[in-house]
């Protein structure tokens, strides 16, 4: 087998930033480090060193770290150069690295891929690192980080242990019933299963991690000319939608994703809702699409006459600066997208609501695959709780354990193969 190429990349802070960390991973990482520093520093110690290129020219004075494999983040030999983040410095260091044989710039996600392939992280952690790479907002990053640091895997392991203890009790009854100690299941047994199922249920009820990717969905709706597109533009802070005094300007659904205070949002502008008879064919399709959007929304901002919007919509009285503005008595927000008055308050309220509905920062969140596995475990526990035949209780508990195993990839089954060969394209 050919040795894998050694890879490098700037792994933090795009220049110009305070510090830029360049990581080098692979069989030549040590050589790379030695060639820049002149010697190989002591493993796992931060050392201040002068970096020079092949001709001996000084590139930077940097903090360098040397992690010989396999006890490194990637499982390979790994070097870290904490450079002064100037564009030129980083470029010079990278250029020097690229000169080494079989050494190249890393592709996106390649460090993670190697860590996974080298057994440094399990499936749940790898997925989280994938999310981490894709994270665009602070909230997404924090959630991915929680999973990547193994929070979910550790939690699953703890649940698995608990089920294992429950299993042991049932097995005692099944296999040692002729001994006096293990005659019957203790009374608290069913209660314990229930308690665990409930705890898992709470996790299932939590917002899913995809929610972070999709963002909190806010749909603007109301009759034509209500000022939807104008408010939409104000919220996404760009002239994304065309606005005009002509009724029926917006004919299709327009979507924009933005982060406000680190919280991911997707704002959706829709065609003004009016009787389809008045609308032409294209507008009618737009109106139908608007209806679909309303159903998908986390929050609907209703700019039309009070009480005529969808249930639970937020009543917004728009265009408050206009002459002849008719206030809505129960409006939650009264604002003018043109002057900006009242828009900040709306944003604040949206951020607050979205934070509640999205995974909390630092809290591990489940993705769809993990959610499905955990649901299986909960279902198995629920069935176990309702059964009286210890043999079948044992079978359901085993099923719950199997679901946990699949969640973290212990079952080495299709889950894992799919994830590996789909998302990470390993083995090509």
């Amino acid at each position: 087998m050919r040795p894998p190429p050694t890879i490098f990349a700037l792994s933090s802070g795009a220049p110009p930033a305070g510090i830029g960390v360049v990581r080098v991973s692979g069989p030549r990482a040590g050589e790379a480090l030695a060639s820049l520093v002149g010697r190989l520093p002591e493993p796992r110690r931060a050392v201040l060193a002068k970096l020079r290129d092949a001709s001996g020219a000084l590139l930077d004075e940097a903090l360098v770290l040397w992690f010989p494999g396999p006890h490194s983040a990637t499982g390979e030999d790994l070097a870290e150069l904490h450079c002064h983040g100037g564009r030129a410095v980083i470029a010079a260091v990278e250029a020097a690295l690229a000169l080494l044989p079989n050494t190249r710039r890393a592709e996106p996600g390649e460090f993670t891929r190697r860590a996974f392939a080298n057994g440094r992280i399990d499936l749940a952690e790898a997925e989280a690192l994938g999310d981490l790479l894709a994270a665009e907002t602070e909230l997404q990053r924090a959630a991915a980080l929680a999973n990547a640091s193994g929070a979910l895997s550790r939690q699953v392991e703890a649940w698995r242990e608990r089920v294992l203890l429950l299993s042991a009790e049932v097995e005692g009854v099944l296999d040692f019933s002729d001994e006096e100690d293990a005659a019957d299941l203790p009374e608290c047994f069913t209660w314990n299963i229930g308690a665990l199922a409930e705890e898992l249920g709470e996790w299932l009820a939590r917002p899913r991690s995809e929610r972070l990717g999709e963002g909190f969905r806010v749909v603007l709706a109301g009759p034509p000319n209500a000022g939807k597109s104008t408010l939409f533009n104000a919220l996404v802070e760009s002239e994304a939608a065309i606005t005009s005094p002509i009724a029926g300007t917006t004919r299709d659904v327009i979507e924009r994703s933005v982060a406000i205070d680190g919280v991911p949002f997707t704002f959706v502008d829709t065609a003004g809702l009016r009787a389809t008879a008045e609308a032409d064919a294209i507008e009618a399709i737009g109106i139908a699409r608007a209806a679909t959007e309303l159903a998908r929304a986390d929050v609907v901002l209703w700019l039309g006459p009070e009480g005529e919007g969808p249930e639970a919509a937020w009543e917004v009285a728009a265009q408050s600066d206009r002459e002849g503005f008719i206030p809505k008595p129960a409006a939650r927000f009264t604002l003018s997208a043109t002057t900006g008055q009242g828009v900040a308050a709306l944003k604040r309220a949206l951020v607050e609501t979205a934070r509640e509905a999205l995974p909390k920062p630092g809290e591990a969140a489940l993705n769809a695959r993990q959610h499905a596995r955990l649901s299986e475990a909960v279902a198995a526990l629920a069935r176990a709780k309702a059964l009286s035949d210890p043999l079948l209780v044992a079978e359901e508990l085993r099923h719950a354990r199997l679901a946990f195993d699949r969640l973290v990839g212990r079952a080495t089954t299709e889950d894992m193969l799919d994830t590996l060969f789909g998302r990470f394209c390993i083995g090509k």
């Binding site: 392939a117 210890p390 193969l417 390993i426």
Partner: protein
């Protein structure tokens, strides 16, 4: 020079099954044992079967083995353990008359075609180019064979302990095979020590049976082997007594004299059948432990007190016995003792029980770190079948965790090794619902017939049974309306519509008996098969779910880890994991997942590495 295809050493439960299985496969086989008259001897408790173990007996029997038929021949007490639980954990158990059991084994061994019996001590293996070529007996005779199956039980480096006394030997009164042991140790096979023990034997005439609670044989008609048409011997009862505080005090006062506690025996003993001194030490708060008094036979007064295995000095054993109700005057005929012995780390074996380092050498039975007759018999069967298949270029039956307890045991042994004597438990089988003691024939006999290890009589029996099974399938698919069931007083709602009988069998309260109006006629053809089929119907949803799981499992079984896979080269595996994987040498990724201590992340690494190697 005598030449054979397969040589089996040891006439215990493993050796007997190995020799007969190899001979049934058509291999020219010889069975070598110290004393041909001791073939089929039960070294300890004269009971066969039990929880998990009953499954093994039925499986060995389904492949036309010896133990089930011999157990029936000797049985003087039948009991279905766990009868109150689901049928998948029922444990058929018999107590056998030692003499009749042994006579039955010997009769079968002698009647077996292709099998030669050789009395003598196997002194040394003959190796050629590192592979097995034959065997040298102590008196100098050479036997030639490319396949040798070692079934020497506790006879490797065995030392007996009783209080302060020590004897060398496997069982009281027999020689330990010290020379062979030395050779194996010199071959650098990974060996370790374990211990086991046996209780004192009592003279039944000195027990006051009248004051004790009786446990009769059950009054059903099942037998261990379906080829035994009915129970043969008079059935006797056991009695139940218990140890007492006075006995416990005596044990505590003398713990220092027990080799287990004085440090003389360091090896691990079975957690599941501990010595009485262990029990007292570990469960100090208990004021007594149950003891079953089991008569050893019809023509002997010996009684086996099940539950007080011990290596305490004789005087303490006496006190323990005499303080049990009904035993105040009981006389110990032979004191109990403990044995410490060598076993091979079974991770040194491949799944056909062949020693990886010495091609042609197979090991089966207690030598592999197991305890129990049934465990020994099951391994003997596999080793015999595999050795014969290899010698003859045939294929042994494909056993796996989803079709047999036998394969569960062998997979556990060869992947996980042992840290205490391995005993079968139903909990070890993940597909327990499909591996029932009562469906062993359905699961395995067909495979055995295909492999050629099933004799004429059983084949005819099985083929007839298969015909009846088909009839059951047809009958079970008959649709019956809920109304009809309700009208006969069954607990189903009238508006449940029409369903096949197999589905009705899943409903609570709809039993085989309850469906007698539809099934009585066919049930009469084979009541045991009727029960089995009804259970299949009841468990069907679980079995279907397991099928899905098995499909997944097969996917990761499809990824082979070739022999000599360089675990050390897989980055990210800790040294400990590399060591465990190298020792266990799993053959597939699925098997690697069952090696203890292997983390999900490590499996991912293995998977990637194996894929890359596969891709070249």
């Amino acid at each position: 020079m005598h030449s054979f295809d397969v040589l089996v050493i040891g006439g215990g439960h493993a050796g007997v099954e190995a020799a007969c299985a190899a001979a049934r496969m058509g291999a020219r086989t010889a069975l070598v044992s110290f004393d041909l008259d001791a073939i089929g001897a039960m070294s300890c408790n004269p009971a066969i079967g039990g929880l998990g173990k009953g499954h093994l007996v039925r499986e060995v029997d389904a492949l036309d083995g010896v133990i089930g038929l011999a157990a029936d021949a000797g049985a003087i007490h039948y009991r279905m353990l766990n009868r109150s639980k689901g049928s998948a954990v029922w444990g058929p158990r018999v107590q056998a008359d030692r003499v009749r059991f042994k006579a039955a084994v010997q009769a079968m061994v002698r009647a077996q075609a292709n099998l030669t019996l050789v009395q003598g001590e196997a002194a040394a293996l003959v190796l050629k180019g590192g592979a097995v070529a034959g065997l040298e007996l102590a008196e100098g005779t050479m036997l030639e064979a490319g396949r040798v199956v070692l079934c020497t039980g506790t006879f490797l480096g065995g030392v007996l302990f009783r209080g302060e006394e020590r004897f060398v030997g496997g069982r009281i009164g027999e020689n330990a095979a010290q020379r062979l042991a030395r050779q194996l140790r010199e071959a650098a096979l990974p060996m370790a020590r374990l211990k086991t023990g046996t209780p004192p034997r009592l003279d039944g005439r000195t027990i006051d049976w009248a004051v004790l609670e009786e446990q009769p044989s059950d009054d059903e008609s099942w037998t261990m082997s379906p080829l035994t048409p009915r129970r043969r011997n008079p059935q006797i009862f056991c009695a139940i007594t218990r140890t007492t505080q006075a006995g416990h005090d005596a044990i505590r006062a003398n713990l220092h004299r027990s080799p287990l506690f004085s440090g003389a025996i360091a090896a691990a003993g079975p957690r599941y059948c501990p010595s009485i001194e262990d029990k007292i030490h570990r469960f100090g708060d208990r004021d007594g432990h149950q003891v079953f008094l089991e008569p050893e036979g019809l023509d002997t007064h010996l009684v086996y007190p099940n539950g007080i295995s011990t290596s305490l000095p004789v005087d303490v054993q006496e006190t323990v016995v005499r303080t049990m109700p009904g035993c105040a005057r009981a006389v110990i005929v032979q004191p109990g003792y403990a044995v410490e012995y060598d076993h091979i780390d079974p991770r040194a074996l491949t799944p056909d029980l062949q020693v990886r380092a010495i091609p042609g050498l197979y090991c089966a039975g207690q030598i592999n770190g197991t305890t129990g007759y049934e465990e020994a018999a099951a391994q003997g069967l596999v080793a015999g079948l595999e050795a014969a298949a290899a010698a003859l270029g045939k294929e042994a039956p494909q056993l796996d965790r989803a079709n047999s307890y036998i394969a569960v045991m062998i997979d556990d042994l060869t992947l996980q090794g042992v840290s205490e004597p391995y005993r079968m438990l139903t909990a070890r089988a993940e597909y327990r619902l499909r591996l029932r003691a009562n469906n062993a024939a359905t699961r395995l006999t067909g495979l055995g017939i295909a492999a050629g290890c099933v004799g004429e009589e059983r084949r005819r029996w099985w083929e007839r049974r298969e015909e009846v099974r088909q009839m059951f399938h047809v009958k079970h698919s008959q649709k019956v309306h809920a109304r009809e069931l309700a009208e006969r007083g069954l607990p189903v709602r009238r508006d449940h519509g029409e369903k096949p009988l197999s589905e009705w069998l899943r409903h609570d309260g709809v039993t085989l008996d309850a469906l007698a109006p539809w099934l009585a006629e066919i049930t009469a053809l084979d009541p045991l098969l009727a029960e089995e089929m009804a259970e299949d119907a009841a468990y069907a949803p679980y079995l279907a779910r397991q099928d899905a799981e098995l499909r997944d499992l097969r996917a990761s079984e499809a990824l082979p880890l070739p022999a000599g896979f360089p675990y050390a080269e897989v980055p990210g595996l800790s040294n400990e994991m590399v060591e465990r994987l190298t020792k266990a040498a799993p053959r597939t990724l699925a098997a690697a997942g069952r090696v203890p201590g292997v983390t999900p992340a490590a499996l991912a690494a293995l998977l990637v590495h194996a894929r890359r190697r596969q891709a070249g």
